[in-house]
Every structure is written in C-alpha cells, then in structure tokens.
C-alpha cells in the first residue's frame, strides 16, 4: 500500500472498485460529481459497468435490478437526490437486496445549497422510506476512513442482505487528503448469493420480492427483518473514543463534526478542561449502551452536529437524566471552527 493524495469523492469511488463493485449507477448532483466522473473513467476500463440514469429514482432501481441479478452494486448522490432514492431503498430492504448507497450530504431542506451539512441523519437512520426497515449507516470523518468504510459497507450489506449507506458530507467529498487505499479484495471472498436471480438451471426458481398480500406472511417477513436488525445491533456497533477515561465533559459528534470535535478535545485539555469525545461510526446501529455507560461518570454530554439537532435525540435517549445534554449546531452549510465549539465547551465546563 502506498499513500496517495486523493479527493474524498474519488477515494470512495476507488475503494468501491477495490471492494468488487461491478455495477455503479448514478445521476449528476453536486457535491458528489467527482465520484460519478471517477467511476465513468475507471469502472468500464476495469471490467465493471457504469451507467448514468435519467433520474435518481431510475438509478436506485438499477441498483435493485443489478443486486437481484447477483452482483455488488452501488449508487451515490447528495441529499435531494437521496430523497428520490428512498422508495427504492425501502424496496431493497423489503426484498432483502444488498447494495451500497453513498450520500454526500449538503445543506437543506429543499434545494438548500451545496455546502457541507448533516441534516439527513433522521432520513438515513430513522427509515426515510416507508415501512419497518433499517439501513446500516456508516459515517466517516476522514478521506481514509471513507475509503475503508465504503468497503465495509459492501461487506455488511452482503453479510446481512440489507442495503447499507455511507453518510458523508460535502466537506469530506471535496477535501483532498493523503490516503492509503486498502488492497483490492479477492472476488472469491465475496459471499455467495444463492438467492440471486441467475437463471434457474438445475435448481428451484428463486424469488426476490418485497410484498406479501397475506398479513400473516408479511408479518413473518417483517419478523425476519427484525431478527436481522437485532443481529446487526448486537454485532456491528462501531465508535471511536478520545480521552473518555477521566472525562467530565463528553462531546458526541460524528463525521466532519467529529473531526472538529477531536481538535476541540485537545484544546480543552490544554486549558485544563477534562473533555472527551465519542464519535459514532455506525449511526445505525447507534452506540446507546456505551454513551449511557459514560454518562454515569460525566456532568455534561454535549452533542455537536451540522444540523438543528438530529443525532441529539439519540444521545438524549442514551443519557436520560444522568447528565446535562446541551446541543451545539450549525445550519445551512455553515461549518464552525474548533474555536466556536471550544467556547461552547468552556461555557458548560465553567457552568
């Protein structure tokens, strides 16, 4: 492995190809254009299929089709485009089709703007589309981690037969950083897909379906999904901790904000404030238990997000009344400096 300087969007694309993504479907939207363009240049040359659809709805349904046909497949977009993909994501969850969706979030709601934001947390982690489904949501905070997590997203998606999302934002998509790209996987290690629609020769026909008119049948189907979600919750929780052992003030932040919070913890410690950080990497499943545990030992759990307070709800569910749970957020694509967050930390530390 060697370190190369890459833009986040391009590193995600390259890592997806290295993860064995054979089919990629897209529709233009900023700020994830470089991902699309990288795939257009690279994927066909390396034996995969690149298709630009006529809409985001079409692109996610191409993913549905390719996944049912048994290949590793991905689509990417940014916030408004993800809204259009939600119907397809719900259908994939219902039909138990793996596939990776990348969301390079931007400011919303509506057209919003093309600046970094984290306003799609609810949409990603609380359903978004219709029905009782969950989406595995992975949130990187560096270009390196984005590359690693997109590969993990393929693995988890295949292992549990459920769609997975990489939730990043315009800052991570656009920034350039040195990255050590993981080696390409051996395609033989991709789990088999005995359920895929590959032509029923010498075997019973497979069925890929997201509906059952019989309520008892649909109930069983849903119970199966819930068992899978339970299993994912037990096995796949991921988060990072910084200086939590002796912390009195805990910051919870993910993605780009998690990265800012890391510098804040360092600066706060220099000023004698015992700050610590929990940075959830899986947003669903969410590390409730660990945050609850830590909340027993701190006075304050400060949630920081580039939103009006979406993950904040999950943090408060975890903390309850064991500690104060203030919130710091920025809106509309405004990115705070570490100093902005530090002054907030000082307010609570001195309070």
């Amino acid at each position: 492995m060697s370190r190369v300087l890459m833009r986040g969007n391009e590193a995600i694309a390259e890592a997806a190809i290295r993860a064995g993504c054979q089919c990629y479907f897209c529709y233009p939207i900023t700020p994830q254009g470089e991902l699309v363009e990288y795939m257009a240049r690279e994927l066909p040359a390396r034996g995969g299929a690149f298709l630009q659809a006529e809409s985001e709805t079409a692109a996610i349904n191409m993913v549905y089709g390719a996944s049912a046909a048994g290949v590793r497949t991905m689509t990417s977009s940014s916030s408004p485009g993800i809204s259009l993909k939600l119907e397809g994501i719900s259908y994939m969850a219902g039909a138990r089709l793996p596939g990776v969706i990348v969301n390079i979030m931007r400011g919303g709601p509506g057209l919003g703007n093309i600046a970094p934001a984290q306003g799609d947390y609810f949409q990603a982690t609380k359903g978004g589309g219709h029905g009782d489904y969950r989406l595995i949501v992975l949130a990187p905070s560096s270009v390196q981690e984005a590359a690693e997590l997109v590969m993990l997203a393929f693995d988890l998606s295949d292992r549990y037969r459920t769609p997975a999302m990489l939730l990043a934002d315009g800052m991570l998509g656009q920034m350039m950083e040195p990255v050590e790209l993981p080696d390409p996987i051996d395609p033989a290690t991709i789990p088999g897909r005995p359920w895929a629609l590959t032509g029923a020769v010498d075997r019973a026909p497979n069925v890929v379906l997201s509906f059952d008119l019989d309520p008892q049948g649909l109930k069983e189907m849903n119970k199966g999904l819930q068992r899978t979600y339970q299993e994912i919750t037990e096995r796949e929780l991921r988060w990072e901790e910084v200086d939590t052992e002796d912390a009195d003030l805990l910051i919870v932040a993910y993605g780009s904000m998690g990265r800012i919070a890391k510098s804040v913890v360092r600066s706060a410690r220099e000023e004698g404030i015992k700050a610590g950080l929990v940075r959830p990497i899986t947003l669903w499943p969410f590390p409730y238990a660990r945050i609850r545990e830590l909340s027993e030992r701190v006075s304050t759990v400060l949630t920081a997000e580039l939103s009006a307070g979406q993950m904040w709800e999950d943090v408060r569910l975890a903390v309850g009344d064991r500690a104060a749970t203030p919130f710091f957020g920025e809106l509309g694509g405004v990115v705070p400096t570490p100093r902005d967050v530090l002054s907030e930390v000082k307010r609570y530390a001195n309070g």
Binding site: P28, T30, V36, E37, A40, R41, Q52, S55, P80, G110
Partner: protein, 318 residues
Amino acid sequence: MANIKTLAKKQEQQVRLSSGHSLCAGCAEPMVVRTVLNSIDDPVVVANATGCLEVATSRYPGTAWNVPWIHSAFENAAATIAGVEAAYKGLLRAGKLERKVRFVAFAGDGGTYDIGLQALSGALERGHDFLYVCINNEAYMNTGVQRSSATPRCASATTSPVGDAIPGKPQDRKDLTEIVVAHHIPYVAQASVSNLIDLSNKVERAMAYDGPKFLNVLTTCPLGWRTRKDTSIPMAKLAVETRYWPLYEVVEGVYKINYKPKKHVPVEEWLKQQGRFRHLFKSPEGKSSLEEFQASVDENWERLLKKEQCLSGADAAQ
C-alpha cells in the same frame, strides 16, 4: 410580427429578467429568457427547474426576476406550473381574479429530456394552458458537464469521456421535439438563440393558443461545448446553417420548416470549433465518426422535409 425595434421597446418598458445575475460570460441563456418574456404582452408567472438559469438568477438574497417566479426540484417545472395554472383557473372560476395571466416554464435539457420528461408529458396530456421552454445546451452544465439524453453522439462529457473504451457519448440524442409533437398539443417548435426574431415570432404564435405550447431552444454553453466565449451566437447559428438544428414548428399538427439554408454547410464546420468534438479530428476512427454524424444530420433533415411535405397546410386543407 416581431422586429428588433419592438423587442427593444418591450425591454425598455419592463425588464422581466434584469442584469446582475451570475450566469457565465458568453452564456446565451438570458437572451432566450428575455426574448421569450418580451414576446408576451400579458402578465406572466414563471416556473423554473433547477439548473444554471435558476441557480445563477436567484442567489439569496437577490433575484434577477421582475416577474412572479417559482422554483421547485429538478424534475418538476411542468408539474409546478401546472399547479399554479390550476390555482389560477380555480380563482377565475370563483370570480376572485379576472385579468389574463400567462404561464411559462423554463428548464434545461437535463430537467426536460431526462428527469423532467414524466412531469412534462403529464402536463401536456392534461392540457394545461402554459408555455414550456426547454433551454437546451446539450448536457448537465450546472453540475459539471455530464452527458444528458440531449447530448449529441460523440460529444465528450465528464460521464462520457473520450478514451480507449468509448469515442465520447456512444448514443444518439433523443428527439424530444418529436416526442412532444406526439402529444398532439396546439404548438410545438424548435428555435435557436441565434435567430431571436424567429424565436419571438414563435412565442407570439404559440401564445395565441390556449393549452400547452412547447419550445426547444438551442443555446451555446462555452464551458461545456468548449467554445470561445465570444462565439456563442455564431456557434448556434452554425448549428442552424449546417441543418444540425432545424428551425421548424408544428402548428396543430402542420409542419413548417421556418428556415431552409440555401447552401449545404458540412456539419464539420460546426463540430470543429468545439472542444467536446476535438478528438474526432485527430484519428482515422474520428473521420468515420464524422461521416456518420453528417449522414445522421442529412437523414434527419430529409425526414423533416418529408414530414413537411406530407403534413403540410395544403394537405390539412384537403
């Protein structure tokens, strides 16, 4: 009929799209918008799909629009204007409004040929009283020059890049104008930013009808076509002169070609001035692609001539 004086006079009377927007140097889109809006006497309401025009004319807290203007997501200009028109008609029926108001939707080729086609088709079929103007610069320019289904064969775009695998976009462009004609609406036309009097006359003829009207207007994009910024009008004119972009209209099903170039100008003359086709002039494969391109232009032109002949006013009168 419009002339340069009447158009200039209307611009003096009311500036419906003002300067101060942030469209690129050399972008021809504002000329299309001004000509269209200055050719309508009644008050207008404009719906605008996401795209260069929308982004560059409505940057908060400013706006370049001096008419009521509404934006909605990329695929919805036709649906949004349909909703506005339905509300207007409801107010008329309720006796709360009396004056005549006209409705215009502007969208680019991505928002019309691709993601907006469903909404456009629905609005045309339901028969709303509106004019839809596709400002066609043949790719997704606002997001960084990705190919659309209006992008011509062989053009290099960021999602149809020239390389060993493909010689630019492998597919032909979609014939959207004919798709709209198949909705049997009162007025359909192709126009070009190079022929503004023709464009203005078309808007006037279109607005004489109640019901859906459609204009497909070719506009140069110096960024995406990779042309010089001071050649946008000559470039669009050359597209007309080479018969690549015929100026024609279909009025109540009757075809009329509004301009027939007297001499045959090879389409190469248009292609060779654009960076997106530069690769065609560098290889033997490119040479055969050029021949195919010319053959396709000729074939389309011949087919249009036949349509004009078969579906002419004379036949309709019989």
